[in-house]
Point group: C4
Chain length 229, copies 4
């Protein structure tokens, strides 16, 4: 069961590595089924190139393994928590990509400095707060999901499909596994550009709000005209 989803998730994990977003095994992609009750995710610590569809692990929305002979990614509790709370998302990508992680380590949101950013993220990519010692001790990976959800109070996860977890790294999401991977690639690119921009001008201004809105609407919503129909 879920064979098509397993192949989509496997492929997104392979492309994650091929695209230069991960070092060693620092990253994983998952996908949610149409019934929204099963998550397919990468097994923990297994190199990307070797992954076969049958290696993918199926868990329920409590993170319990329901199919597969390998342990799921240690970040599985974060993934399932996001699927439970963010309506409409169908894929999640977690990486430790260089520049997005640098912003997460600096605990600094990633402002929209240009149209490249605006095409993918509607505003500054937010930072989720550090976990407390108790939150780390009790249910670390689940609580990582909870501080992300807490940070998104009042935000639309479909308009802002990315977060930086303070002292940790980014998570991105999207309609499906492939879409969440696209957002991970875009996030790393705009993080690299933002650092270079600040090196040229530490006071570089954010993009004008009307350009941000325009670019976002070129690609998203009923009047989108980017790409093919």
């Amino acid at each position: 069961m879920l064979e098509e989803l397993k192949e989509q998730v496997r492929q997104a994990n392979v492309e994650l590595a091929a695209g230069g977003l991960v070092t060693l095994t620092w990253g994983n992609v998952s996908g949610l089924n149409a019934a929204r009750d099963r998550v397919v995710i990468k097994p923990s610590g297994v190199p990307y190139q070797r992954l076969r569809p049958a290696d993918m692990v199926v868990v329920d929305l409590d993170g319990r393994v329901v199919e597969g002979g390998l342990r799921p990614s240690s970040d599985t509790p974060t993934h399932v928590l996001l699927y439970r709370h963010f309506a409409g998302i169908g894929g999640i990508t977690h990486t430790h990509s260089r520049y997005a992680t640098a912003f997460a380590q600096a605990r600094r949101e990633l402002p929209c400095l240009g149209t490249t950013h605006a095409d993918h993220f509607h505003g500054a990519v937010p930072v989720a707060r550090p976990l407390t010692a108790a939150e780390v001790e009790a249910d670390y990976e689940g609580n990582t999901g909870r501080v992300i959800v807490e940070r998104f109070a009042g935000l639309d996860p479909m308009a802002m499909p990315a977060v930086l977890v303070a002292g940790h790294a980014p998570f991105t999401w999207g309609r499906d596994a492939a879409d969440s991977l696209k957002n991970a690639i875009a996030l790393e690119a705009v993080a690299e550009m933002a650092l270079a921009t600040y090196q040229l001008d530490p006071q570089a201004p954010p993009l004008e709000a009307y350009v941000l809105d325009k670019h976002y609407r070129r690609k998203h919503g009923p009047n989108a005209y980017y790409g093919q129909k």
Copy 2:
């Protein structure tokens, strides 16, 4: 019709991606026919590797599709406006390459700091001003072309085949599609070098004007002696 031009434009788009200048589908190359009334351009949002000559879209100088089953790049109105105003250019490349975009986001012109720059661009690469809210609302992509043309009042587009659009990204041009791509590659390289130069010395001096002129004339004009005849 225009089969040769379609193949040239397709190839330049493929090389654009292979050369590391684009992430996802953030970039496009177009070419103008000899009669200067038809533009061949990349279809919007289609991955570069898959492009076939027949996928290329033909538009007139008002940006109306005259041949091809796919939507043209959403930046088409910018391209056609530049072809209408810049005599002598036959190809345009638009990218969001990392370092050139950082200069565009910092809204800072890219000065000539060395002979690498002088070989391609005769002086500092200029920045086109941000569009107003009204300009964004009415005809965003066409107005992007208009602010570029406005910025080039008194400048020779053949001696300065590049511009940085504030808060957006670079456009380059040239005799044909391949030449505009070369200038996009050169622009990204000199932008990266310029940032590194400023990190070593924020007051790094511009290249002496007589060296700028010399290098430019080695490669351009009647007394050029670089390359083969």
Copy 3:
């Protein structure tokens, strides 16, 4: 004899080069046999791609060649000294990888700024002091090992499998050759991220100690739950 170890060491040296950690022949990997009395190491100055198992040099723990027709790496005295003093390590990797070497040249320890670092190194990666003129003259490579051992007084080499030698470059180690290579890759990645983090905020805080401990214990020790059993 030691055929399996030779192949392991050869492969780690090839992967060292393939992974982008070395320029020219600036790096080497060695492995210790189970009896802990023989070290297999790369021959000096030989390109990685050409290495055959039979090219690997076998030395004893005094660094004397006991098998092999080529000279061992000039860094051999450093390797054997570390094997003699650090119980439990079975592989060593030495590189001049860009960012880790920059920290070594700046003679600045590499603090733990995030969970990427915590997954591999339990705290700040220390700097070994510069050698004196007498130490350089008498037994340079051996003394390089001695200042590393001196710096690790009170530190557990298995919890901190890396060091930066001031004005020189990093050494990493691990259970075996492959594990030491993983730590070299991780060290370079976290060094690059740390520099970018400091460019965003020169006062970026170290990771909370309780998160450092948690991440380290996810991957190491009796309660580790990262990866497959």
Copy 4:
């Protein structure tokens, strides 16, 4: 004639491009014959991948073409001038590699900050002064060679096989074409490391002179013990 030298020079030019040191056609390698009266050099503006041995151009020490149907590199007068003045060198590489060029554009010498540098360059890599307007006008490329020779008064070109020409880019040399290429690769690597080192500490100290001497002598001179005999 000079078939072996042509093949060596062709191969060094191909490796120059493959090694990531050049963008477009910004770089060239030449080699001197044993009789020290003929220089084989890359033709101007020809892509590296296509080069055949027969495309290599042979010039005399005045830069006059004596064999070959293509124009030699426009930098040929610089190459021949260096061969005339620097006894013992048999190959020259010129690039516009990113970081070495940034130091040249900042007109700042590249100090020895670590052993990586010391293994190849015995001290700080010097900067040759900018040419005057008259020197640019009269014999630009020849005078580029002359300011390099002027800067090397009192320096041994074999112990310091590199220079940064102010506002331009680096030249390196060596025993033969391949050796000059190695020095170009080493120069770019240490320039990148030096910039990163200064970003961590703008006051980073130079390497102790006794370590510089030690490392240089490990690789050069009668007591060298790096590599195979």
